[in-house]
């Protein structure tokens, strides 16, 4: 019988450093499967962020660069402009993309750079051990919002695809989560569409992924998944937020 569930060629055969229950492993795998299915592994260049996914280059079996915190889309721009025939994607967390790198993501999207962004939103700073993220929900406790995030002092959680929607340069913006197999299947469809947009040369595409961070939510993995479903999904609605593929 043919083995249908093996290691994607775009993943290295190694153990990841991600915490138990973390969503990054699933998201890496989906990205790798899509790259395999589109047969673009040998022309794909990824940019890892600063954050938990900085080590993505140890797990993905493709050419990759590490970018300074938040500058990931600028690095991707430099690569894509001098190698327009390559497929270039950034893989960024909420701190990298929606806090320190807000300027870069907005202008890269606004220029309509023909790149793809995988934006992982877990509502917390994972690598630095649980501080408030720009996407931390109101009332959510983190190590820097010990009494829960208050809009009055810490502002509101940022909805990135909705924010980017108005930009002419954006072609495809979607949001999904990894909390259930059904969602994972849809997520894969979205990520594939996002890469397709780039292959067709249409412009900027981004898929946000709501991902559980059990360790920094101080929850066990099952409760963390439930937390995403009950708290994040209502604030961050799932679906295609912009689809100008037509």
């Amino acid at each position: 019988m043919k083995n249908k569930f093996g290691l994607p060629e775009s993943m290295k055969d190694t153990v990841t450093f991600y915490c138990p229950g973390c969503g990054h492993g699933i998201i890496h795998r989906i990205v790798a499967e899509v790259i395999d299915e589109l047969n673009i592994r040998e022309i794909t260049i990824g940019i890892a962020p600063v954050g938990c996914a900085v080590l993505a280059y140890n797990y993905l079996n493709i050419d990759m660069a590490e970018a300074p915190h938040g500058r990931t889309p600028a690095v991707a721009t430099g690569i894509k402009r001098v190698q327009p025939d390559k497929i270039v994607f950034t893989y960024q967390g909420d701190g990298d993309l929606a806090a320190i790198g807000t300027g870069e993501i907005i202008h890269t999207a606004s220029r309509g750079e023909n790149i793809t962004t995988i934006f992982v939103n877990n509502a917390v700073y994972g690598m630095t051990s649980g501080q408030m993220a720009p996407t931390t929900l109101l009332k959510q406790k983190t190590t820097t919002t010990p009494l829960g995030r208050e809009a009055k002092t810490a502002g509101f959680p940022l909805r990135v695809p909705e924010m980017l929607k108005s930009l002419e340069g954006t072609v495809y913006l979607a949001r999904e989560t990894v909390i259930a197999p059904k969602n994972i299947m849809t997520l894969k469809k979205y990520i594939r569409k996002a890469f397709d947009v780039q292959i067709k040369g249409l412009g900027f595409s981004l898929v946000e992924v709501l991902s559980p961070c059990p360790v920094n939510l101080r929850l066990d993995p099952i409760k963390a998944y439930k937390w995403v479903e009950e708290n994040m999904v209502p604030y961050y609605p799932l679906g295609e937020i912009k689809n100008n593929i037509l």
Binding site: E66, I79, H107
Partner: protein, 352 residues
């Protein structure tokens, strides 16, 4: 372009970068270097190359990082405050071992300062600028011709040593117009098998500066330091004028050196034997040249458009073998010949 043309320093640098094979330019407007992005916005598309006006200096230098990681020659330019903004990525590129050229058409500081030429960015350029243990090759032109010639050198050195190179000019050199010849030169072609071009028929290439395993970062640092030592051994550009018989030796670079050249002629007419050591590479610094000169010189006078930065390296090179004096102007002020001559005559009298 076989004949000399009248051209500004900024434009000479820009055209030289194109002739040196710069495939991608990324910049952000800031005075007094705006002529460079303006020139590039026209010329780069003409050559079928990449020009982007970035949203900030942060974005510009990180686009440079991406282009360099792709294996092409790439450059950004800015002026002092913009160069400060770029320092994080410069440190990354030093750690990543990525070649690039960064021109700083420096202006008066600190802070927003002003838009006149200044040399207050010496420490930033030569002593590191960003975080961590690293050096940059720093090249200081002193004429429009050198703004062009040393740009070729900068690209060659960046590729040869896989490291960022800073061209440290100033607003006066950027804005002044002189006759210069910008010729296409043979480009040193260096194989960049480390570049990110897609993992086709090979293992993936990774460009990174993070090393978490035990001792891994120290080993990486040792490798970098070996490279910096090699550069120190192999690369040092310096101009010496009338130093063999000089009692008084000026040490000055860039615009300050031009003024000193004129001072020397005046002093020699008054029977005061003066000479000049002009570092062209500020890093590596011409320590040996200065050390040798210290064996016969009466005293040194370092002239800078700063509060006294390079003078520290001159003192380290002289090793106490001769007095080292300093004359400087700050905040865009330019050393005046008369003032320098006055000071030299006073010091000369006192030293007798």
């Amino acid at each position: 372009m076989k004949n000399k043309i009248l051209i500004s320093g900024n434009e000479a640098l820009a055209e030289a970068a194109i002739q040196a094979g710069c495939k991608a330019y990324f910049g952000y407007p800031i005075t007094p270097q705006n002529e460079i992005p303006e020139y590039m916005s026209r010329r780069m598309p003409e050559e079928g190359r990449v020009f982007i006006q970035a949203e900030s200096e942060l974005a510009a230098i990180n686009m440079v990082l991406g282009a360099s990681a792709s294996g092409v020659r790439t450059m950004t330019t800015s002026s002092s405050p913009g160069i400060s903004l770029m320092q994080e990525a410069v440190s990354y590129m030093a750690g990543d071992e990525l070649p690039c050229v960064i021109a700083n058409v420096a202006r008066g500081g600190p802070g927003l300062g002003n838009i006149a030429g200044a040399q207050g960015d010496y420490f930033q350029s030569v002593k590191g600028g960003g975080h961590g243990d690293y050096n940059l090759i720093v090249i200081a032109p002193a004429s429009v011709q050198e703004m062009a010639d040393l740009t070729f050198t900068a690209f060659d050195m960046a590729d040869k040593y896989r490291t960022p190179v800073i061209i440290l000019a100033d607003g006066y050199l950027g804005q002044m117009m002189e006759a210069a010849q910008i010729e296409k030169k043979a480009i040193q072609s260096i194989k960049k098998d480390w570049a990110l071009t897609g993992a086709k028929g090979r293992k993936p290439n990774i460009i990174n500066s993070m090393y978490l395993a035990d001792d891994a970062l120290e080993k990486h640092n040792q490798k970098l330091q070996e490279k910096f030592q090699k550069i120190k051994k192999e690369l040092c550009l310096v101009e010496e004028i009338s130093t063999t018989d000089a009692d008084i030796i000026f040490v000055a670079y860039g615009t300050s050196a031009r003024i000193c050249k004129s001072v020397i002629i005046n002093l020699r007419a008054n029977k005061i034997k003066a000479g000049l050591i002009r570092p062209i590479t500020l890093w590596p610094f011409p320590t040996e040249t200065i050390k040798q000169a210290a064996l016969h010189a009466g005293f040194f006078l370092t002239v800078e458009m700063s509060a006294g930065q390079m003078v520290e390296d001159v003192r380290l090179s002289v090793e106490g073998k001769a007095p080292v004096y300093f004359y400087g102007r700050m905040g865009g002020g330019v050393p005046e010949e008369e003032k320098i001559i006055e000071l030299v005559e006073k010091l000369h009298r006192e030293s007798k």
